[in-house]
């Protein structure tokens, strides 16, 4: 019987303040980001980052409180993390600081705010505004103000200025 590498479970608790360092070290060591997800537990949220190298996983687990959970985004290290972090933001209401591609709470088209963590209802647009992506995010959040493609104009403007966070705009923009 061959060695079952999939049965090796390495789950390491990490403090939120040490997350970026641990992830950066893993990347230097040749690990690839596999996934990140959040789990609602009693009194808080656990965020799990799975990293893979040679078919073996290393998982980093960060525990956050229920009130305004906030974490540094790892998308500066693994750009692909923006997918997972936007999902966690929309479903659990976790704010990720310095997110490389911030959808401002509009990654998923969901009917209620933070549906998988009702304790922590918050406005996605407000989060983004606080993070510096406010201009685009506010145009997204405004009901009925996106019918002229205004949001897309802003995307182009943001792309021209690479220093700004490119953000998803306009889900109501319609065809131009």
């Amino acid at each position: 019987m061959a060695e079952r590498k999939d049965l090796i479970q390495d789950i390491q608790p990490v403090e939120a303040s040490e997350l970026l360092g641990a992830v950066a070290d893993a990347k230097t060591a040749g690990y690839r980001l596999g996934q990140a997800c959040a789990t609602k537990v009693d009194g808080g949220i656990e965020v799990l980052y799975s990293l893979e190298k040679d078919e073996v996983l290393k998982n980093l687990k960060v525990s956050l409180g229920d009130n305004d959970p906030e974490l540094q985004s790892i998308s500066g290290i693994y750009w692909a993390a923006f997918i997972y972090e936007n999902e966690m933001h929309d479903l659990f209401g976790i704010t990720f600081k310095n997110l490389a591609l911030d959808f401002g709470g509009h990654f998923f088209k969901i009917a209620s705010e933070t549906p998988w963590n009702p304790v922590n209802k918050r406005s996605g647009a407000a989060d983004s505004a606080a993070d510096g992506g406010g201009e685009v995010a506010s145009s997204v959040a405004g009901e009925g103000d996106g019918g002229d493609g205004d949001g897309r104009e802003k995307i182009v403007n943001l792309e021209k200025n690479d220093k700004e966070t490119p953000a998803k705009a306009d889900e109501k923009g319609g065809e131009e």
Binding site: R32, G34, S50, W79, Y84, F103, F108, W116
Partner: protein, 359 residues
């Protein structure tokens, strides 16, 4: 600098079987930036874990996707089995491997058809799907289902397949090889197909590594990454090696899937010949109380299944990270600098499954 224009691509588009939206920022006919947007069909399936007991949840997880449904069911069972410390009988592992590889053949044939449809080769599309139909018949004969099979359960499988039936399926698959060869040669040799795929959407090995791409997208750029190497199922016994190409373009992604078609037939043949006698399941006692991160190599690439239990009949969390989820960053990268006319083909080369992605 040419004027920049933003063109919305999707969520409704002839090439897309499922809704994904891309804001394509273009200069003349060249895409300079693509901003993805999903979320149109988020169903919240993972959340149902709070209302379904863990032995029943496998039926929900199978419904994450209609193409790789068996693989999702296996991935869920593998994660819960790891959580409970259950060892599955070897015969069940072989049966799971056979069904999973049948799923890969059917998924890749479906994809080849969709690709042919995307570049306007309708007869090639029809031939791909005609062959796929035979694989669905094999599923029906062995599981009773053509899309959702419900044969995987925590602790093993629900149905046995006789050795004679397995030999019959293997012979039938081998009988399909000449037709498959004829079909796939058109993808590889035909000039009109080459013009649409060769040198289009190139991703280097470094780029796919940096973007954490998975499955055929990564293997087409020379990264020999495949979850089937980790020792689960019957792959180690069957002697599995990943199919890899080096060019990193759309043609390379097509070639990897074509190679995997024939490899899956070979794996099924080996498994049918060497499947051991024995039980197909074990009795599972207790409830999951720990956590387990499992992975599967779905036809589209690596998928994650994280389960967390609390000792009750209801899991605290089941998380499914599907391959399309991981390949969206790679898609965004490969669209940069491409011609607008190539966007539909490039979107298809990651074999997007949006139902999977959003769950």
């Amino acid at each position: 600098m040419a004027k920049r224009t933003v063109i919305p691509f999707g969520p409704q588009h002839p090439v897309l079987p499922e809704p994904i939206h891309l804001d394509l920022v273009i200069e003349d006919e060249t895409v300079v930036e693509a901003i993805p947007s999903i979320g149109f069909i988020h169903r919240g399936l993972e959340k149902l874990v709070e209302k379904n007991e863990w032995p029943e949840m496998v039926y929900v997880i199978e419904r994450v996707c209609g193409i790789c449904s068996f693989g999702h069911g296996w991935g869920y069972c593998k994660s819960v089995e790891g959580n409970l410390g259950v060892t599955v009988p070897l015969r069940a592992e072989y049966l799971r491997t056979i069904w999973h590889e049948l799923g890969r053949i059917h998924s890749h044939l479906l994809w080849l058809g969709l690709l042919a449809d995307a570049f306007g080769f309708e007869s090639l599309f029809m031939h791909s799907w005609r062959l796929r139909e035979k694989v669905l018949d094999m599923f029906e004969e062995t599981t009773g289902g053509r899309v959702i099979f419900s044969v995987c359960k925590v602790g093993g499988v629900r149905k046995d397949v006789s050795d004679e039936k397995l030999a019959e399926i293997s012979a039938e698959l081998n009988g399909m090889i000449p037709e498959l060869k004829e079909l796939t040669d058109v993808f590889i040799e035909d000039m009109s197909v080459k013009n649409r795929l060769t040198g289009v959407g190139v991703l280097s090995k470094e780029e796919v590594t940096e973007l954490c791409a998975v499955g055929p997208v990564a293997r087409a750029s020379g990264v020999a990454s495949d979850v089937r190497l980790d020792g689960h199922g019957a792959y180690a016994e069957l002697g599995f090696e990943p199919c890899v190409e080096q060019d990193g373009d759309s043609m390379a992604r097509c070639k990897v899937r074509i190679k995997e078609l024939f490899q899956s037939i070979e794996l099924i043949e080996k498994a049918a010949k060497s499947i051991p006698e024995g039980d197909i399941d074990v009795k599972v006692k207790g409830n999951p109380s720990g956590e387990f991160v499992g992975r599967m190599e779905q036809p589209r690439g690596e998928a994650y299944y994280y389960s967390k239990g609390n000792g009750s009949k209801f899991l605290e969390r089941i998380r499914v990270r599907t391959p399309t989820n991981a390949n969206i960053p790679a898609l965004v990268k490969m669209l940069q600098g491409c011609d607008l006319a190539d966007v539909p083909v490039l979107v298809l080369t990651i074999d997007p499954c949006i139902s999977c992605t959003e769950r």
